[in-house]
């Protein structure tokens, strides 16, 4: 088999044993890699209905089809488990050296079962696996853990995925970090913490064989050359932080816990400002010619020397959404999340919920008392110092940090039950996962895409904001096109998340990012790698199958139509300021769009998948279990 080894490595933490599973070429043609293959491995290896923190919830890695080849931006892998945030599929992507190293060790996927009695890290040394004592690594941050493991193994070529203190402490939205990148969302780090798994380290020394190296090299060279041009200049120069001003000018920049969509100090937290005042260098993932990540440093004040990579989603959650106009505080918050091993989005939005709760009198200064802050904290909007202190309390599970480490859904439920309050009305999550940095009240198609997302509301798993912000539809109204748009855009995104290829490359194939512009080139890349004969329709099927297996997973875990919903605020409270003022998505509008969406997917009105549909997609075993 070209492009793949045909082998999945299984590791049992409980028994400290391993075994190898051989997969057929037909299986790879179905599931490809990334989030699709990782979810399929979850489907095959999880005990349905299990507690996400139980040994029955596996950790599933699935490498990318192009990892370690010359294909630009193909060095990525998928990671999946049952999410402790949502109780549904938790699928994330990360990139860079770990995926390439795993490919060189000749593993297409890794499934980690069980849980360990003592803290361990796993060392995959080509075909050999070691369970190593991790007690000396406890308390180390994510990046420091990677370095410590390289030192211990005396090999700079070893690459590791790690958790930080937040994962050890089972902060529910803890994440997994490798090479400065994160499998950021849905709480993988806390699942690893529940297994006492501190890291997975890999040394890979073998080669990767592809079917047609000459063609693959030529195609890759052409795409790489294009990736140095105007299609990516905005990513290369300012990175995704440029979205701050874009969103603000359209009235969809989440501000003060999504109360409004415009921030009066947007210029001070913009990518443009960051570039001029804080940027120290731009870095790239391995195998990427674009280099979008803006390494930014605090240069003055109490946090001077703090440095981390800044992306838009982390930035909005830790600036405008907290009413903070001081980028130094935002950089410190994001660094606290990155080094501690927390999803900076969920952390920022949960602190924002606490800020609004404080300002409404639901939480008080007393609630923030702890040994370090005996007088408590004034966690008002705009108070960067208090926000940083709260982030540290979350990471370390100190005082109110224990409550806030559970995310907005669980924190609001607990507080409302204890105090008779209604803070769920400003808890910005759906299915338990915090919302993305696109104010969906001003983006009706995206509001549907957010509601039906299998891992919760997510800007990466659906591109349904695209028709809204490109003016292809009226973003403030609902019509009968939205169901098909949500279907089409989520399956489009699922193709990239399955290969996986970073979506920033999508215009570099032909200049056009739509299916007609991208699918033929993607088919050529797959064929040159594997020797298969994929065509346009096969690429469409990659996306449909990927989304379907994730939905099937959720149905098996008890998903119901009512789970496809939006935060209370997005369905009940119009914004009052800016270009999107007056708009929200009513329950009636959402239910209408859901009807359209389920129909476009070929599902029934309850959102269940017909057996015949699943069989037509080549999933008879799935049809047997959850088809209707």
């Amino acid at each position: 088999m070209f492009g793949y080894s045909g082998k999945i490595l299984h590791i049992d933490l409980t028994e400290q044993k391993t075994w190898v599973e051989d997969k057929t070429e037909d299986w790879y043609k179905m599931w490809i890699g990334g989030v699709s293959m990782a979810t399929r491995l979850c489907w095959e290896n999880i005990t349905p209905g299990c507690d996400p923190y139980s040994p029955e919830n596996p950790v599933c890695f699935a490498n990318g089809i192009f990892a370690g080849t010359p294909v630009p931006v193909g060095g990525k892998y998928g990671l999946a488990s049952k999410s402790p945030m949502t109780g549904f599929i938790g699928d994330s992507l990360s990139g860079s050296w770990l995926s390439i190293t795993l490919k060189r060790a000749r593993w297409d996927g890794v499934v980690i079962h069980g849980s360990s009695e003592k803290w361990v890290y796993i060392f995959i040394d080509d075909e050999r696996v070691e369970f190593r004592d991790a007690s000396k690594l406890l308390g180390l941050g994510t990046f420091a853990t990677e370095e410590a493991i390289r030192d211990e193994l005396s090999d700079d070529m070893v690459r590791s995925a790690t958790i930080g203190p937040a994962g050890e402490n089972m902060v529910r939205y803890a994440n997994v970090t490798n090479d400065g990148r994160q499998a950021g969302r849905t709480g993988h780090g806390s699942v690893w913490g529940s297994k006492k798994l501190k890291a997975v380290s890999v040394r890979g020394t073998k080669g990767i064989t592809v079917a047609d190296p000459e063609t693959l090299n030529k195609l890759s060279f052409d795409i790489t050359k294009e990736a140095q041009g105007p299609h990516t200049s905005k990513y290369r120069i300012l990175g995704t932080t440029t979205n701050v001003l874009n969103m603000n000018k359209l009235g969809i920049l989440p501000t003060r816990n999504y109360q409004e969509g415009v921030f009066e100090d947007a210029e001070k937290i913009s990518g443009e400002y960051l570039h001029e005042h804080n940027n120290v260098k731009t870095i790239a993932c391995a195998q990427c010619p674009i280099a979008c990540e803006q390494m930014s440093m605090v240069k003055t004040g109490p946090w001077a020397g703090t440095m981390t990579g800044i992306e838009y989603e982390c930035l909005f959650a830790n600036s405008s959404n907290m009413g903070i106009n001081d980028l130094n505080a935002s950089i410190k918050l994001i660094q606290t999340a990155d080094q501690g091993g927390m999803d900076a989005m969920s952390m920022g939005i949960t602190i924002s919920w606490a800020m609004e709760s404080f300002e409404r009198g639901v939480l008080t200064k007393e609630d923030f008392k702890c040994e370090k802050y005996p007088d408590g904290l004034e966690l008002t909007f705009g108070n960067g110092e208090a926000a940083v202190a709260t982030a540290e309390m979350i990471r370390d599970q100190v005082g109110i940090g224990k409550l806030l480490s559970q995310g907005t859904k669980r924190a609001s439920e607990k507080i409302d039950k204890e105090r008779g309050t209604e803070s769920y009305q400003w808890a910005m999550n759906s299915k338990g996962l915090e919302t993305a940095g696109y104010e969906a009240r001003g983006l009706k198609t995206f509001s549907l895409g957010s509601a039906v997302g299998t891992r919760g509301p997510c800007h990466n798993r659906t591109a349904s904001y695209d028709p809204d912000i490109k003016g292809e539809v009226d973003r403030f109204t609902v019509d009968d096109t939205r169901g098909e748009l949500a279907r089409s855009t989520e399956e489009y995104a699922a193709v990239y998340d399955t290969l996986p290829l970073c979506k920033f490359i999508r215009r570099c194939f032909t200049g056009k990012a739509d299916r007609a512009g991208a699918w033929p080139m993607i088919a050529k890349l797959i064929n040159a790698t594997t020797g298969w004969n994929f065509e346009y329709d096969d690429i469409d099927l990659i996306g449909e199958r990927a989304f379907t297996i994730k939905k099937a997973f959720n149905i098996r875990e008890g998903w119901k139509r009512a789970d496809d919903t939006l935060p209370y605020r997005w369905m009940n409270e119009p914004m009052t300021k800016g270009p999107s003022a007056g708009h929200f998505t009513s329950k009636k509008e959402l239910e209408y769009m859901k009807d359209l969406y389920y129909k476009a997917k070929g599902w029934n009105n309850d959102g269940m998948i017909p057996k015949e549909k699943l069989k037509a997609l080549g999933m008879p075993d799935v049809a047997e279990q959850i088809g209707v």
Partner: protein, 97 residues
């Protein structure tokens, strides 16, 4: 004769290339968005090839104008005729983050 005034606002890459946050642009009655694109391309040549197509006639896809932050003009809407006092925001839209 130039009878109307619009304010072109620059963000992101277009702000870096022009060195300006905004530019007051005079237009003739009946002028369309293609006239706006031509005018700012002539005034700010670094935009051509990065934000504006090399022929100077249209925007490179993913760059687009919003009128006053509300209406967004997609690639095929260059026939829009700006009104006096319009804010034309030149956006370089990004995905992800």
């Amino acid at each position: 004769m130039d009878n109307i005034q619009v304010l072109v606002e620059f963000t992101g890459i277009s702000r870096m290339l022009t060195g300006r946050m905004e530019y007051q642009l005079p237009l003739a009655d009946g002028a369309g968005m293609m006239d706006v694109v031509r005018a700012i391309g002539c005034k700010f040549p670094p935009l051509v090839g990065e934000v504006i197509e090399k022929d100077g006639e249209s925007l490179i896809p993913t760059n687009l104008f919003s009128v006053n932050g509300k209406q967004i003009l997609h690639e095929g809407q260059l026939q829009y005729q700006p009104k006096n006092g319009d804010r034309l925001i030149l956006l370089s839209l990004l995905a992800g983050g």
